[in-house]
């Protein structure tokens, strides 16, 4: 029942988000000085040509009318046509978004895989050298400019060591796996395409490492503080008084409970990861939405920017819905989320 409740509430919120986000981005993108028509026409185009393009793009209409058109299309699931590429925005999103998502998920997995053990050690040995070391690593991660780190990593692992490829999602000479989920790694596995899998795997390692490193810190920090909270709880004392060994208490009781509040933080981290992905993508020539959005903003491509913002916000809300549900599944105490 409460699962349903949460889903309903989130879906209601989703409508709000779509309306809000589309309004905000619409307003912002029309605040941007500059004329997209001029951009498409090319610098030297005559005013007449520019006017013609404005007309075909409805840019000459009043703002509210433009928005109304946009909203109407949106209701039909149509995100409009990109000014810059002349393709439906939805097509571009399908082309670019999965790559970003794949990268973000990989980075998140990396961050969790490394961050959780670090956080646990840090909490268990609080104020000991291990703790200091972990906190230093965590803070360094959080403080590293991803764009800079990416350059260094390429230089090192590709330039000097030649260990791993430095750009793209897959080797050019290998055909990408048949698109099912559009996550290359998963698609390659599902279609049993070993070469594609290996190639995608080697391609994703460096960017995921770069992006994930920042969040190792976020995760370790969060786990540490949640673990400290849990280790202070009475039930830990009870478990110890029941004769359970230290690690059984830490890993069996405290850690699962510490993970519960951390799920929310991971949900939030997802948003930050999308942010970081943009910078990482450029550096690693990762064909995700990062460079697309930057280019769209620079080209004043309103439909593209709005479409992307809406889709990403959508994804964000959905992720948070998932987080809520996971939370609910993990924590029996919560019967409703207010």
């Amino acid at each position: 029942m409460s699962f349903l409740n949460i889903i309903r509430r989130r879906l209601g919120f989703l409508i709000l988000v779509v309306v809000g986000v589309s309004l905000i981005t619409f307003a912002i993108s029309h605040m941007i000085p500059g004329d997209p028509a001029r951009l498409i026409a090319g610098e030297r185009a005559s005013d007449e040509i520019v006017a013609h393009i404005r007309e075909t793009l409805r840019l000459d209409r009043p703002l509210w009318e433009q928005y109304a058109h946009y909203a109407e299309d949106l209701l039909h699931g149509d995100l409009g046509t990109s000014i810059r590429t002349g393709r439906p925005v939805a097509d571009d999103i399908i082309a670019f978004f999965p790559a970003t998502l794949e990268l973000v998920v990989a980075a998140l997995l990396f961050a969790v895989a490394v961050g959780v053990p670090l956080g646990v050690m840090s909490a268990v040995w609080r104020d000991r050298p291990v703790d200091h070391l972990v906190r230093t690593i965590a803070v360094t991660g959080i403080s590293t400019p991803a764009f800079w780190l990416g350059l260094l990593i390429i230089l090192c692992f590709y330039g000097r060591l030649h260990w791993l490829p430095a750009g793209g999602r897959i080797d050019q000479l290998i055909d990408p796996p048949r698109a099912i989920t559009r996550f290359y790694l998963i698609d390659a596995l599902m279609t049993g395409n070993g070469a594609a899998f290996l190639s995608s795997l080697t391609h994703i390692i460096l960017p995921a490492l770069t992006l994930g490193f920042v969040h190792v810190g976020v995760v370790a920090r969060q786990i540490r503080s949640a673990m400290l909270d849990q280790l202070n709880e009475d039930y830990v004392r009870t478990a110890k008084a029941g004769g359970l060994s230290r690690w059984r208490v830490v890993l069996g009781h405290a850690l699962p409970n510490a993970l519960i509040p951390s799920v929310t933080v991971l949900g939030l981290a997802f948003g930050d990861l999308l942010y970081g992905a943009v910078l990482t993508e450029t550096v690693f020539a990762w064909p995700g939405m990062g460079s697309y959005v930057v280019a769209s903003i620079q080209a004043l491509d309103f439909p593209a920017v709005m479409g992307f913002t809406i889709v990403v916000s959508f994804a964000y809300v959905l992720v948070n819905l998932a987080v809520d549900l996971v939370y609910l599944a993990l924590d029996p105490r919560i019967t409703e989320i207010g």
Partner: protein
């Protein structure tokens, strides 16, 4: 009272917690023992060191957070302060069990009761899952829990406070302990439920001839449920003896003042004979008698520390006061 065998024996224990601005002398030379099958109470005000005593008896305080300055603890023949962690882990929840104050937080909130009980049971008994489960059901049944099998499937938050405390007591008795340390097990409960829980605890202990170290700040409970009592004040034991006689005829001025200050038997709205002042700051423990600053009878000698000395007239009665004498405290 001479107990046949001492299950818990604390000798002259002094510990402190390093804190901001010095160190808190939480226990200042306490000596305390619990005999087999005996129910011993520790009574005292908040912060006098009751919980520290209990926790330290199983060495449950986090290592490195406290310093033992003096003394030792012997639990069922083990030197608690020196024993390896593995030995203690075997002892904990086995021969020596604990029941805590706050039953809601004392259970892992995200685990079903059954899983928590079975985990501890199997830690101490070589039985399989089903056996442990059957045992858990029996233990809960002993605690007069109506539908034990169903309770095993519940989460702690789905139980009432009294139920949770009964679960904890059942758990404490799961491996036939020789001693159960109960740290204010009923403070969070209502009086009606408190009575039930206390009676269950006592009856269960008597059944298996387990000793109980019962910690409380409620004189009434001490009186009703313990054989012998230690009165603590500011990290020290100020008086001990058979419960009935200590409460009827307190020997230490603190015990006396405390009992007189209770409104129970005073004339309505009359001024109560209150103890002036406040509990001393344990970062600067008084050199002499800890109660001297608030004692109506304090004299120069009280700046020397009085030892816990046997009193004439009654076996097992001891008090830490230069002028201790057994006086009838007229309610």
């Amino acid at each position: 009272m001479t107990a046949a065998r001492k299950v818990l024996d604390i000798r002259d224990l002094t510990i402190e917690f390093p804190v901001y601005g010095g160190a808190v002398r939480a226990l200042d030379g306490i000596t305390l023992s619990v005999g087999a099958g005996e129910i011993v109470g520790i009574v005292g005000e908040s912060g006098c060191g009751k919980s520290v005593t209990a926790m330290l008896s199983l060495r449950l305080l986090p290592d490195g957070r406290y310093r033992v300055l003096n003394g030792d603890i012997s639990l069922l023949g083990h030197d608690v302060l020196a024993a390896p962690e593995a030995d203690l882990a075997r002892l904990r929840g086995g021969q020596a069990a604990m029941v805590f104050q706050e039953p809601l937080t004392a259970l892992n909130p995200t685990r079903r009761i059954g899983r928590q009980m079975i985990e501890v049971i199997r830690r101490h008994r070589p039985i399989d899952q089903a056996g442990a489960r059957a045992l858990a059901i029996r233990l809960l049944g002993d605690m007069r829990i109506a539908d034990p099998a169903e309770v095993l499937e519940r989460y702690p938050f789905e139980l009432s406070g009294g139920m949770r405390q009964r679960v904890l007591i059942a758990l404490a008795f799961s491996s036939d302990p020789a001693i159960v340390i109960a740290d204010e097990p009923t403070t969070a409960l209502d009086v009606t439920v408190q009575r039930q829980v206390m009676s269950l605890l006592r009856r269960r202990a008597r059944q298996s001839n387990a000793a109980i170290l019962f910690i409380t700040h409620d004189m009434g409970l001490v009186s009703q449920y313990t054989d012998r009592v230690y009165v603590m004040y500011a990290g020290r034991v100020v008086e001990t003896g058979a419960t009935g006689s200590v409460l009827a005829a307190p020997a230490h001025p603190y015990t006396r003042a405390l009992l007189q200050g209770l409104p129970d038997h005073a004339v309505a709205k009359a001024m109560l004979p209150a103890i002036p002042g406040n509990v001393p700051d344990l970062r600067h423990p008084p050199a002499g008698c800890g109660f001297a600053g608030r004692c109506a009878h304090a004299v120069a000698r009280c700046s020397e520390r009085p030892p816990l000395a046997p009193l004439d007239g009654e076996e097992g009665r001891e008090a830490a006061c230069w002028f201790a004498s057994i006086q009838d405290h007229a309610p």
